[in-house]
Amino acid sequence: MSATAVETTTKLPVGTWKLDPTHSSASFAVKHMVVATFRGRFENIDATLAVGDDGAGQLLGTVDAGSIVVKDENLQAHLGSPDFFDTERYPELRFASKAIRRDGEELVIDGELTIKDHTHAVEARGTVTDPHETLGGAVKIGLTLETIIDRTQFGLEWNAPLPKGGFALANDVKLTVELELAQDGE
């Protein structure tokens, strides 16, 4: 039995890749009341992946903080208030990559995340697909990323003690983006 050499793709797809917002999402998950996982999402997001001929890429992303969506309108309003995202003063969350490493479908991105004017380094891990021609000849890639942040480092410090110990909200929050990006035709 002969060994077959498999070439692992380490290069990012060259070009400028722009977000298809309808088919992309940005969400968060955080432990709530110690026992459960509470999830929410942001409706309005934008992202661009630019990859040069040398394979070096940069991912830039923004999230409209005021577009947060949860299942209760009062909670949604509270999340936008100064207790949490303070959308009046900090309307946008930002991400800018510093280094992108690809190994096959696996993707590791080092970057800086900014929430409420607090900027910290984060490492996001996920996957990236190869380009695929879709309907109408549009060439697309898919990109998923996850990272866990300590929300208190970003000025999101609200909490409430529980009567028998513990707190209403954990500090660690998992952020997930699932992006469909289309090759920019210009």
Binding site: A77, H78, S81, D83, E88, R89
Partner: protein, 182 residues
Amino acid sequence: MRVLGITGSLRSDSHNGRLLRTAEALLPPEAEFVAFTGLKAIPPFDEDDEPNPGTAVGRWRAEIGRADALLFATPEYNSSIPGALKNAVDWASRPFATAALRNRPAAVIGASTGMFGAVWAQAELRKALAAAGARVIDRELPVADVENAFAADGTLAEHDQELALGEILAELLAQADMRIAA
């Protein structure tokens, strides 16, 4: 710059009303201080009354809406906020997304005849205001033994407390300035 002062005490000669007047004297000339006097007229919050909450609630919300900053001075009843004051906060928190309190800079001070200076009531009021969406200054001014807390000229007898009150007001006005400038 308009600062609305609200005391949680309904008593005409209340200590916390006096504390508000002390705060008023420390404000810079460009800050206009207005004392809210309609707390007693605000009816108990009832969701059934929300479509037509009445003139007292309307006036309360309008006064908040006209103010650039809110300064609350609260006594402490049974280790907590006076019911009338909490009730007013509840009215001003609805509907949540467009409430009068939303993003409004607010500071809380307080006085009591006891030895703790209404510190628990202040903490609970800050919590309630923040939950209602206000931009709450995270500081307190517990004026204890209030019957002996004021000098003859109306200032706080303890110099450190007078300084602390000035610092709280400066922080409140700075937050209001940021909001006006935005």
